[in-house]
């Protein structure tokens, strides 16, 4: 395994493994314009807020968009608004500009129509592309990587093959000095006691328990329950909620939990030192991709039974142990564990090697088809208020 990668240096000192330009639409009405602009450059990625054009209630989303623009893999951004809503694109572009990235904004209504906006946007996108191309290449140790860890499309093989293998790989990467971040607090209900023991301090343990409790309260509202375990889960072999949760937990490895990164309209915490972190990144895969982007992740390790989750900003390494669902989308085949042909340690070594290769520029299996939507997820401010959760404690 090579211990360094030639990254793309950013003015804020961070180093990306990719060199993308984001075309952000702060309201869904200008998405078509954003797509036309993005198609005119090589590395253009569209990020659209589909959740109304109003600022009120979208504050957390705006925060996630800003921090996504600050991701190390992003060279610059163009932020668009139609102009009839209340989200000024500068409230996204200006904070991104303070990191030294090129960041422009454009209000469609102030241009001479849609075609004129697209033409103006294409010119700005060209400038962003040139700024991206001028990013200095910086030799960077693998230990500087920030890695998101996520599961989805889970089945029996996940708890036996892909999750333990990724967990072992996460331990190896953390021991090398890297940073790993998991989320999905709703999936950790029942694991609180074990997680407290992994926390580096009582403060971290208390915060962790509080945030898991809050997530449980958001999803388990009396009279409007959502399922935690299906009959299918149990027929497949899961006996209790704890077993399901611990299966998901095993992808996080065993190293101490340095902190729990909060995401809301006031706070967007990031890792302060290397090590393993939990976060409020959602369990909903598409949106989690954006949360990990906003947390500063370079890439994501994703465990699955078999499906092709992708995110164009943060490359996704897909790991599956289900030989019946494996296809060309899956980057790491862990099914040997299920057939008793390969051990967890050996699969973990292949995952770590893959992380190194992807950091060095190797594309993941479906990276070039990156158009999974950049889904932005936020907590509902009305529900937060009803539940009396305090965002900044």
């Amino acid at each position: 395994m090579m211990n360094t990668f030639m990254g793309f240096g950013r003015a804020d000192g961070s180093v990306g493994i990719r060199n993308h330009v984001l075309i952000m639409a702060v309201d869904e009405c200008c998405e078509g314009i954003a797509r036309a602009i993005a198609d005119s450059i090589d590395n253009g990625i569209v990020v659209t807020n589909y959740n109304t054009c109003m600022y009120g209630g979208n504050e957390e989303m705006i925060n996630t968009m800003i921090h996504t623009g600050n991701n190390p893999n992003v060279a610059g951004v163009l932020v668009l608004a139609m102009g009839c809503g209340s989200i000024d694109p500068e409230i996204v572009a200006a904070p991104i500009r303070t990191t030294g990235r090129a960041a422009f904004s454009l209000v469609c209504m102030k241009q001479q129509g849609t075609r004129a906006t697209i033409n103006q946007g294409k010119a700005l996108a060209q400038e962003l592309q040139q700024a991206a191309n001028a990013a200095p290449r910086v030799e960077t140790p693998i230990s500087d990587l920030v890695i998101g860890v996520k599961c989805g499309g889970s089945d029996t093989s996940s708890g036996i093959a892909s999750n333990p293998s990724v967990g072992r790989a996460v331990d190896t990467l953390v021991d090398l000095g890297a940073t790993a971040i998991a989320g999905e607090l709703i999936e950790l209900v029942g694991c609180e006691a074990i997680l407290r023991q992994r926390a580096v301090s009582p403060e971290v343990a208390d915060k962790l328990e509080r945030l898991i409790h809050e997530e449980e309260a958001r999803w388990h509202v009396d009279g409007a329950e959502v399922e935690t375990m299906s009959i299918g889960n149990s027929v497949g072999g899961l006996t209790t909620l704890e077993e399901k949760s611990f299966g998901a937990l095993s992808k996080t490895g065993t190293r101490p939990i340095q902190g729990v990164l909060q995401i809301n309209h006031l706070i967007h915490e990031k890792p302060t030192q290397p090590g393993f972190y939990l976060s409020e990144a959602t369990h909903l895969c598409g949106s989690a991709g954006m949360h990990f982007a906003a947390l500063g992740a370079h890439l994501i390790l994703w465990t699955t039974g078999g499906a092709g989750f992708n995110n164009p900003i943060v490359p996704v390494i897909r790991v599956s142990g289900n030989q019946y669902l494996l296809n060309e989308d899956i980057d790491i085949d862990a099914s040997g564990i299920m057939r008793a042909e390969e051990g967890v340690e050996s699969v973990a070594e292949r995952i770590v090697a893959k992380v190194s290769q992807v950091a060095q520029g190797q594309q993941t299996n479906i990276e070039e088809f990156g158009y999974s939507y950049c889904s932005l997820y936020q907590k509902d401010q009305r529900l937060e208020t009803v539940l009396r959760f305090k965002p900044n404690c």
């Binding site: 029996t156 708890g159 036996i160 333990p164 209900v189 029942g190 694991c191 074990i194 935690t228 375990m229 009959i231 149990s234 027929v235 497949g236 072999g237 006996t239 209790t240 909620l241 704890e242 077993e243 611990f246 299966g247 937990l249 095993s250 564990i337 299920m338 057939r339 008793a340 042909e341 390969e342 051990g343 967890v344 340690e345 050996s346």
Partner: protein
């Protein structure tokens, strides 16, 4: 030989990697694919389900991948299926009618 995986040395269950029928002798392997034990199934246990590796007492913790996944609600002999018919969550129980449905769908033999 049919196999089941013990994810952590401290576990008192192993997960079947194939379907087993009553009387099958199952090889137990570690997470790193070393053969460590062999257990005779006292009943049918399907792929992905758990077999008891030792005699488990009533109210004893069930441990998988080093984590406590529930409590035995009756003695579970080595070789028996460890599942909803003899284990309960310490956190949030599956409703009784759902447990009945799972037992029915899986055709779990009960003593």
């Amino acid at each position: 030989m049919k196999k089941a995986i013990q994810l952590d040395p401290s576990d008192n269950v192993a997960t079947l990697l194939v379907d087993a029928v009553k009387g099958d002798e199952i090889e137990i392997i570690s997470a790193n694919n070393q053969v460590i034990d062999s257990v005779r199934c006292l009943q049918a246990i399907s792929f992905g389900n758990k077999v008891a590796l030792s005699d488990i007492a009533d109210k004893q913790l069930i441990t998988k991948a080093s984590y406590p996944i529930g409590l035995a609600i009756m003695p579970i002999p080595r070789g028996e299926l460890v599942h909803v018919q003899n284990v309960r969550s310490q956190r949030l129980d599956i409703p009784d009618n759902i447990i009945e449905e799972i037992i029915k769908q899986m055709r779990i033999e009960q003593a």
